[in-house]
C-alpha cells in the first residue's frame, strides 16, 4: 500500500511519509494489523497525504489493490506529476462549472432549485463579505475573486467527505498556493489604490514619534507575511485534523481487534463527520472573509 505513496509530487511529502513509517513502526506495534498489513499510523497518513494513484480501498481477485495510476512526468527537472490532489482539484472545478452553467441555463429572472441555493450563496458573499469589508465600489469589483475562492475551497473540502474522494485543501501545497494568491491580491489592490510607494508608506500610521517608526516597520513587514501564512495553515490544519480524527476513531476497531468497539467508534466517527461538514463550509467562509478583510485593510489603511 505504501509503495504507491512514496514518490509524491512534493519530495518533502514523500520524505515525511517515509519518516512516519519508521516512526510508526518503532512505536505502534500495538496498532499492527490495521489496514492492509500496515500499522495504523501509516494507513492514516496514506489516506490524508498526496499520492500518485487513486485508491479505491479494496483488492481485486488476485489480491492487488484496485487503483487508478496517474501519469508522472517532469518539466525542466521539476516534478509536475498529476497526483491525487490535482485530480480532486480538477474534479472540483468541473463540478463548479457544471453546477453554475446548469443552474443558470436560460436566463430566468427568478432562479429555481439549485440556482436558488447558488444565488443565495453568491449574494451572501457579495453583500456580507465583499461589500461589508471592502466597500461598495471595490467590493463589487473584487466579488468574482472572492466567489472563486469561496466556492473552490468549499467544493474541495466537501469532496474530501465523499467515498473515494480526498481533500485537496488538506495538502499544505494547495493552501499555500491559495494563500499566495490572496497575498498578491492584498498587496496589488493596495498598490492600485495608492501607487507603489504610497502603498508602502501606508504601512506606518501618520503622526508617530520618529523613534517608534523602525519598530513599526519591522512589525508591519512581519504582519504582511504572517497573515497569508496563517490563512494557509488554518485551512490545511482544519481539513487534515478532521480526517485524522475520523480515521483514528475508526482505527480503534483495529487497535482493540474487536468488532464490538465499532458500536462506540462508528457513531463517534459519524459525529466527527457531521462536524467536518460544518467545518468545510466554515473554513471556506473564514478564508474568504479574512482575505476580503485584509484587502479592505490594504485599501482603507488606518491613518
Amino acid at each position: 500500500m505504501m509503495e504507491h505513496a512514496a514518490p509524491g509530487a512534493d519530495p518533502n511529502v514523500a520524505a515525511h511519509a517515509a519518516d512516519a513509517v519508521h516512526g510508526a513502526e518503532a512505536a505502534g506495534h500495538a496498532a499492527a494489523g490495521a489496514g492492509h498489513g500496515d500499522d495504523l499510523g501509516s494507513t492514516i497518513l496514506h489516506h490524508i497525504t498526496n499520492s500518485n494513484s487513486i485508491d479505491f480501498g479494496f483488492n481485486d481477485a488476485s489480491g492487488h489493490p484496485v487503483a487508478i495510476h496517474l501519469p508522472q512526468f517532469e518539466i525542466f527537472g521539476i516534478d509536475m506529476s498529476i497526483t491525487k490532489h490535482v485530480v480532486m482539484m480538477w474534479v472540483a472545478s468541473v463540478v463548479l462549472i457544471l453546477a453554475f452553467s446548469l443552474a443558470f441555463r436560460g436566463r430566468r429572472m427568478v432562479p429555481r432549485g439549485l440556482g436558488n441555493l447558488l444565488e443565495m450563496m453568491v449574494v451572501f458573499v457579495r453583500d456580507e463579505i465583499a461589500i461589508k469589508n471592502i466597500g461598495e465600489k471595490h467590493g463589487r469589483r473584487l466579488t468574482p475573486y472572492l466567489l472563486t475562492l469561496f466556492f473552490f475551497i468549499m467544493t474541495c473540502n466537501l469532496l474530501g467527505l465523499i467515498p473515494f474522494g480526498s481533500t485537496a485543501t488538506g495538502n499544505v501545497n494547495v493552501t499555500a498556493g491559495l494563500a499566495i494568491l490572496s497575498f498578491l491580491m492584498i498587496q496589488l489592490e493596495g498598490m492600485r489604490e495608492y501607487g507603489f510607494f504610497g502603498h508602502w508608506k501606508n504601512l506606518i500610521p501618520h503622526g508617530l514619534p520618529i523613534f517608534v517608526i523602525p519598530i513599526m516597520i519591522v512589525v508591519e513587514l512581519l504582519s504582511i507575511f504572517v497573515k497569508p501564512f496563517a490563512l494557509c495553515m488554518r485551512l490545511f490544519a482544519n481539513m487534515t485534523a478532521g480526517h485524522v480524527a475520523i480515521l483514528a476513531f475508526l482505527g480503534m476497531i483495529f487497535i482493540f481487534k474487536s468488532v464490538f468497539v465499532a458500536a462506540a467508534a462508528v457513531p463517534l466517527a459519524i459525529a466527527i463527520m457531521l462536524l467536518e461538514l460544518f467545518v468545510a463550509l466554515l473554513q471556506a467562509f473564514i478564508f474568504t472573509f479574512l482575505t476580503s478583510l485584509f484587502i479592505g485593510f490594504s485599501i482603507h489603511p488606518a491613518h
Binding site: H16, D19, G23, A230, M233, F236, A237, I286, F289
Partner: protein, 76 residues
C-alpha cells in the same frame, strides 16, 4: 531508556497545552459575545461576525501549534 519515546510525550503534552490555551481564549470570547448579545440583541449579527473573526484568529494560532506537534511525531 530506549523505550522512553520522549518526542511522543512532548508532542502529546504540546497538543494538550495548545488546546487548553485555545479553549480558554475561545471560551472567554464566546462568553463575552453572548453577554453582549444578551444585553443588546439588535447588535447580534455584528457581534457574531466579529466573534467569528477573532475565533478564527485564535484557532489559527492553536492549529499552527497542533501542526507543529504533529510534525514532531512525523519527524521523529
Amino acid at each position: 531508556m530506549e523505550n522512553l519515546q520522549l518526542p511522543y510525550v512532548a508532542a502529546a503534552l504540546g497538543m494538550g497545552m495548545a488546546v487548553i490555551g485555545g479553549g480558554l481564549g475561545i471560551g472567554k470570547l464566546a462568553a463575552a459575545a453572548m453577554e453582549g448579545i444578551a444585553r443588546q440583541p439588535q447588535a447580534g449579527p455584528t457581534i457574531g461576525t466579529n466573534m467569528l473573526i477573532s475565533a478564527a484568529l485564535i484557532e489559527g494560532a492553536t492549529l499552527i501549534a497542533e501542526v507543529l506537534c504533529f510534525m514532531i511525531v512525523l519527524m521523529k
